[in-house]
């Protein structure tokens, strides 16, 4: 076990027979898959398939009701504090303070993640997002797409080992979506683990190295060959 606050390093995430119940409702049921460094894994499935719950458990924000999530030899529950220092999450909600400027938002989170120079980290993030010239405007004056780009940089401000993204293409126009795809590939090429939950195959196609298809909380199929993605997706979505 590593101590809290000391960033933990890992090269793989293994989800073993994980279930999560909310009262009597079963959001995720006996899910097993693995993601390794230098790859982008897609969690695909319709609304309510359990993708967001799975991401929350990977982020150590939710405990599985049963089963284990391991980051190399570390346990998501026991080592949560130090693991969180190396996990970045972009949720369906953007986790930004609308009254603060884009720079203030990023600098705040950079500070919380212990970056030595939060202002510099924020400025770099805004350059990546292509929003350097609007750094000192409040986030509530931004369009949805611009906020999404700031939120992505917030999730990546501490150079995480594992990036978890929930429907990251929502509200993005084509150039912004292309920029996001480029940013995710950059992360993968630097050895990071990227897990993207989405139901939007149009944009995600060609991005994933592996894909896990979920339906009603269960793994329907796992795919290691991205060229079969479309056919499998159609098949899974068409099932009753």
């Amino acid at each position: 076990m590593t101590s809290r606050g000391e960033p933990a390093d890992f090269d793989s995430v293994v989800v073993s027979d994980v279930s999560r119940h909310f009262g009597r409702r079963r959001a995720v049921s006996h899910v097993t898959f693995a993601a390794r460094g230098g790859s982008i894994l897609g969690l695909l499935g319709p609304n309510g398939a359990g993708k967001s719950t799975m991401l929350a458990m990977l982020a150590t924000l939710l405990r599985p009701t049963s089963g284990v999530i391991r980051f190399d030899s570390m346990d998501a529950h026991a080592d949560g504090g130090s693991l969180r220092a190396r996990i970045g999450i972009l949720g369906h909600d953007l986790f930004l303070y609308p009254e603060l400027t884009a720079h203030e938002n990023l600098a705040f989170f950079a500070g919380l993640y212990g970056r030595e120079d939060p202002d510099r980290a924020a400025a770099r993030g805004l350059e990546h997002a292509g929003l350097a010239e609007r750094a000192h405007e409040p986030v509530n004056s931004f369009s949805r797409g611009m906020r999404q780009r700031v939120a992505l940089e917030r999730a990546l401000i501490h150079a995480p080992r594992l990036a978890l993204l929930d429907e990251p293409f929502t509200g993005l126009d084509d150039p912004s979506a292309a920029a996001l795809v480029g940013r995710l590939r950059m992360l993968r090429d630097s050895g990071g683990i990227v897990i993207v939950a989405t139901h939007d195959l149009e944009i995600a196609e060609g991005l994933f190295d592996e894909a896990v298809f979920l339906r009603e909380g269960r793994v329907v199929t796992t795919l290691g060959r991205p060229e079969q993605l479309r056919a499998t997706y159609r098949d899974v979505m068409g099932r009753r």
Binding site: R4, G5, P7, A59, L61, L62, R63, G81, S82, R84, A85, I87, I89, G91, D93, L94, F95, L96, Y97, P98, E99, L100, E104, F108, F109, G111, L112, Y113, G114, P138, R154
Partner: protein, 226 residues
């Protein structure tokens, strides 16, 4: 790292509040309205009920504080920023302490306005005759109230009926703090000030503060998991 995280969260809360003014204006307006209504109802021909000022001051602080607690956490819920705070690798009690200090700062602003108002409207100028005792009692009561309130407001952030549940859960627990605050403040209103009695209530408030803050720090991590 703990102190840094506390400072960052406090500074962020104060910046957001400074820009929006949402909580400060509503709590101040509510607290002043509350005192004015009590004054219209209870002050007859310039004579206020004996020792009434102490109770009314703490009622206004508790009600305004409840309003502030609810709104502070509602703000973190709206953009799900609480999740982002909990994801940070900092100790979770640092989030609690940062939020607690933000609430205390807001309540101090309310009290700066309320105390002179109560002193004037309820003919309780003796309140201001012992400023250090008054500061001590107000600080002790405010910290005790905010310590429990911050924990409960954080606990209830996902509850649909949080606005109803917060006062229902909070008020029974803070009864000892309120009693000590009211009795301590009433001591300051006596014609013959008794330092020993004031010290007793102040010490009691200090004890409650230590107990409540310790319990909250101890339980916050568990309360915020899942």
């Amino acid at each position: 790292m703990f102190a840094r995280a506390v400072w960052l969260i406090l500074r962020k809360d104060l910046t957001v509040e400074f820009r929006s003014g949402e909580i400060a204006y509503t709590t101040l307006f509510f607290a002043v309205s509350c005192i004015l209504m009590f004054a219209f109802a209870l002050v007859r021909e310039g004579k206020a009920p004996e020792d009434g000022a102490a109770g009314l001051l703490w009622i206004a602080i508790a009600f305004a504080g409840t309003l502030a607690l609810g709104r502070t956490f509602e703000r973190e819920r709206q953009s799900e920023t609480l999740r982002a705070l909990l994801m940070a690798p900092t100790a979770r009690p640092a989030v609690y302490v940062g939020k607690l200090l933000g609430i205390v700062a807001l309540l101090v602003c309310v009290e700066v306005l309320l105390v002179p108002l109560v002193a004037v409207l309820f003919d309780a100028r003796r309140l201001l005759a012992h400023p250090f005792w008054l500061l001590g009692i107000l600080a002790g009561g405010t910290i005790g109230f905010a310590a429990v309130g911050t924990l409960f407001a954080a606990m209830l952030i996902r509850a649909r009926t949080r606005d109803v549940l917060l006062p229902v859960l909070l008020y029974p627990v803070i009864v000892p703090v309120m009693i000590a605050g009211v009795r301590g403040t009433a001591t300051l209103l006596q014609p013959e000030f008794d330092g020993a009695v004031a010290m007793f209530w102040l010490a009691l408030l200090g004890t409650f503060d230590v107990v409540f803050v310790t319990l909250a720090l101890w339980t916050f991590e568990a309360v915020m998991t899942d």
